[in-house]
């Protein structure tokens, strides 16, 4: 079953498939992600797990770029390389003035650490065209993330580099950050048949699209190894939300995050609005369910061998 699936991470330990397509618009599961570590992992502290990832990526890939959105995840990735003295270039995507409130934090980090970032600029019209074309190509409900990352990946490829990001992070649901999956629509992957929310971890559609579009990039630092995923799942404080957990575990200041553009932009821009009216009717899921905390701890601490 897993041999024919797509994969990501070190040694292709995460298996996935995107099942929603023009030929198969109503699959039973719109996307699937399976954690398939061959070996057992031990619980290590978060910083150790991150150091192992940074060293592993540095050993296997040269000319590293780190995409910085201004969020905690990518700042932590940059900080991890920086602390180890591993050379990399921060790369910041700017779309008009749409995401200026987000990327302010990325510029601040670069300034504080005296590193000149690469800036990739696109106009709002170029960005809307790109995000909708990615959505059209893959029948995707998400556009902004994969669209943005395609500009960054294209730049890095043109400069012979390898892109690392804060994307590919697994998230816990339910969570305040993910309330939109219940309020704006009801994500079919994350709700039971009776409408109650599932409790467990997920991976988002844009992460799968990025891996599918740029399969050679080591983009998913935060899920690169079973060890770093295990460390997060083990250390996540289940009494506080994910934003607070990330700030605490990754030792970064908490911050608001729009992820590129506020929702009102999509309601006001004519072409974007039209795309939203269409894509909201494409499928019913924007993520794949991975399992409960206990299920993840079990598979990560035991491994699956060669099964």
């Amino acid at each position: 079953m897993y041999d024919n699936m797509l994969s990501m991470g070190k040694d292709q330990w995460i298996k996935f498939s995107l099942n929603r397509s023009y030929e198969n618009p109503y699959p039973e599961k719109e996307m699937e992600v399976y954690l398939r570590p061959k070996q057992a992992s031990a619980v290590v502290d978060w910083k150790t797990a991150a150091r192992h990832v940074a060293e592993d990526i540095h050993a296997s890939y040269d000319n590293l770029y780190v995409a910085m959105s201004g969020g905690i995840d990518s700042e932590f990735v940059a900080q991890s390389f920086f602390d180890l003295g591993i050379p990399f270039k921060p790369i910041i995507f700017r779309v008009g003035e749409l995401n200026e409130l987000d990327i302010w934090w990325a510029f601040k980090w670069c300034k504080d650490n005296n590193i000149e970032p690469v800036i990739v600029d696109a106009t709002i019209e170029e960005w809307v065209t790109r995000l909708s074309s990615v959505s059209r190509k893959y029948c995707g409900r998400f556009g902004a993330g994969p669209g943005t990352m395609s500009f960054v990946n294209d730049y890095v490829i043109a400069h012979g580099g390898n892109l690392v990001t804060g994307a590919g992070f697994i998230e816990y649901f339910p969570d305040e950050n993910l309330d939109y999956m219940t309020t704006r629509y009801k994500d079919s992957s994350m709700h039971n048949a009776d409408g109650t929310p599932k409790q467990g971890y997920l991976m988002h559609e844009p992460d799968l699209l990025q891996q599918l579009s740029y399969p050679t990039m080591p983009f998913n630092f935060l899920s690169w190894t079973p060890e770093i995923v295990l460390s997060y799942v083990y250390h996540r404080d289940m009494t506080i939300d994910s934003a607070a957990n990330k700030a605490k575990i990754m030792n970064c200041l908490p911050r608001p995050k729009n992820i590129g553009a506020p929702n009102c932009f999509f309601m006001l821009h004519p072409r974007a609005r039209k795309w939203v009216g269409i894509k909201n009717n494409i499928g019913t899921a924007e993520c794949a369910y991975l399992g409960t905390r206990e299920e993840l701890l079990n598979v990560l601490t035991n491994g699956v061998g060669n099964a």
Binding site: Y22, P25, Y26, T129, S132, S135, R136, C139, Y185, R271, R273, K274, W275, V276, G277, I278, K279, N280, N281, I282
Partner: protein, 131 residues
Amino acid sequence: MRKDKLDFGITIYVERHGSTHLPTYTVLLDDTVIESKHIPDVKSNDNFMVYFSTELDQGPHTISVKYDNPLSKGLIRIDNIYAGTAAGGFNCDSLVKSESSSKTNMLRNTGIYQFNFTSPFFYWALSRYPI
């Protein structure tokens, strides 16, 4: 096979015809008549709206608007087809001409306008974006 549940709204622009002989428009989904109506003379140009909900099998479908006006001078023009669900929808105004089998959205005398699409509707629309 899963059905495609949809709400359609059709905007028909009607020009003043100034006649006591009332022309007729008929809206069909494939071979099923959705609405057939005499068009009274309007004081000025006007828009008629036709709404209907449907469940479609996957595959090709056609929304047709027939205009039957043998005597008076008026014309009608299909300006927009809105397609929606509870999750939202969009105006197919830019598709109205391009998806017409006759490539025109204006009808005079006795004519028929046909909007061709494939179900699931929104997958079909996405495949055509930007629209």
